[in-house]
Symmetry: D2
């Protein structure tokens, strides 16, 4: 049918960078991107980083025991507002990954302006048993080798 | 800094096609894309069609008299659900454009499965004076020549 | 702890009415409620109508065979925009309910101004088997008697 | 027309508490409330706290110089997930307010279970001139006297 390609990010050294276009849906009546939406953008970049490594964000190695990362905490600093039609670069750097947890540091850029930083602490969990499990060694190896 | 490219669509004849990846933010507890979010996807495709024609969705020719398209009505048919991690193709075909109004017919595809159709009736309005105005002839010419 | 009451709607004759406050999250850079968000508001009112009848939107009578309404199609007319801080009344009237389907006509009001109308066609489906099933007679009786 | 009342929160000592019902729109394919949406809930409670004090979240004292609070940073801890149909209580306690800034500590409860905490640092800004201004003394007095 129509052959189009989903947006993909890429690594610049240890830093994964993913493009995000700002649409009306992302903005609010203040004329800027709504503060919660930076977390949507950040999650897209994390998902694509994991996908580029050959894993699906929300799949463990065995289908019947679905596993994946879940956010334990995050801290966001808003420095400058993004606005409608901006093309943003959302980065993701894995600064820690061991056992059942990982830390990712993310930034939102508009060209050479840093708009926001997001630090996310993640746990790897078995969604069926609802408890943390060790990150699969294959994935852990890749995250550690970035 | 990080050079990444925002996703772009392209024309296949008269039909503009734009890729959309489904993230957690788009889904709901039913495990599928939330029904309102197809309208977010549709608006992205309309915006990119206008952008490819050389116009900005929300800009008129004079900055002090900001103009743009606004949705008057829409009708959505849900045929099959989209799910997490899907890559969708959202199309947009301008079926009518004259005076201050336009009609766009849109479809949401996952490979060769048609998931949803959206028909949107738009008015071109002066956002400051809050009333319909004629579509600028430059834009109208491009819309009509598709 | 803190005793607060979730917002509830009520019937005015056959018409169920539910209040919705507009927050920043609902608006866009145009200064008005984003067009897809009327569907979020409409779904809240439908859910609360079903809840007032003693049913949970997403539960069938047997837990192991989860059933509920899903949207087949909808048509929205936008008449006047809602803005930040508005208190809206979202109505829901069941105009048809039989077999495995229902039709609900909804309106969005700001005091005595009609802002939007939404017509929704719903199917009652078994979410596990992914196919339409008859609306449980208990629920159907209540919907029919409105 | 239809007389319905928008949901309101109330103070329990220094702590303002506001009810939030979880709808499909708030959840994701993991079956739980999407992590960014806790920020939507938190903002609703902050807005209602300000409204109860007699101020409008996004209005200064003079209309031509629109002022209001904007989020500078926030930190969220996710302890337990909220799910569909939950009635949550979102609290807001002003722990600091002086000059052009304020700190609010917020919690999300489901009955007696603490699901999440959110700490928000806010700046009071003139949205037209895009710079911080002193919180109006009338509002500051009220915030300080809580």
């Amino acid at each position: 049918m129509y052959e189009v390609t989903a947006p993909q990010g890429q690594f610049f050294g240890k830093v994964f960078a993913f493009p995000v276009r700002v649409y009306y849906e992302d903005t609010d009546a203040g004329g800027i991107v709504y503060y919660a939406n930076y977390l949507r953008f950040a999650e897209r970049a994390r998902t694509e980083l994991i996908r580029v490594l050959g894993f699906c964000h929300n799949e463990g190695l065995e289908a019947e025991e679905k596993c994946g990362f879940t956010v334990r905490s995050c801290a966001i600093d808003y420095k400058l507002p993004a606005i409608l039609d901006d093309v943003l670069t959302v980065t993701c750097e894995v600064t820690e990954a061991k056992g059942a947890s990982a830390v990712m540091v993310q930034e939102v850029w508009r060209k050479d302006e840093l708009l926001a930083t997001v630090e996310v602490k993640l746990a790897y969990v078995n969604f069926v048993r609802k408890r943390p499990v060790r990150i699969p060694s294959e994935l852990l190896d890749k995250l550690s080798s970035l």
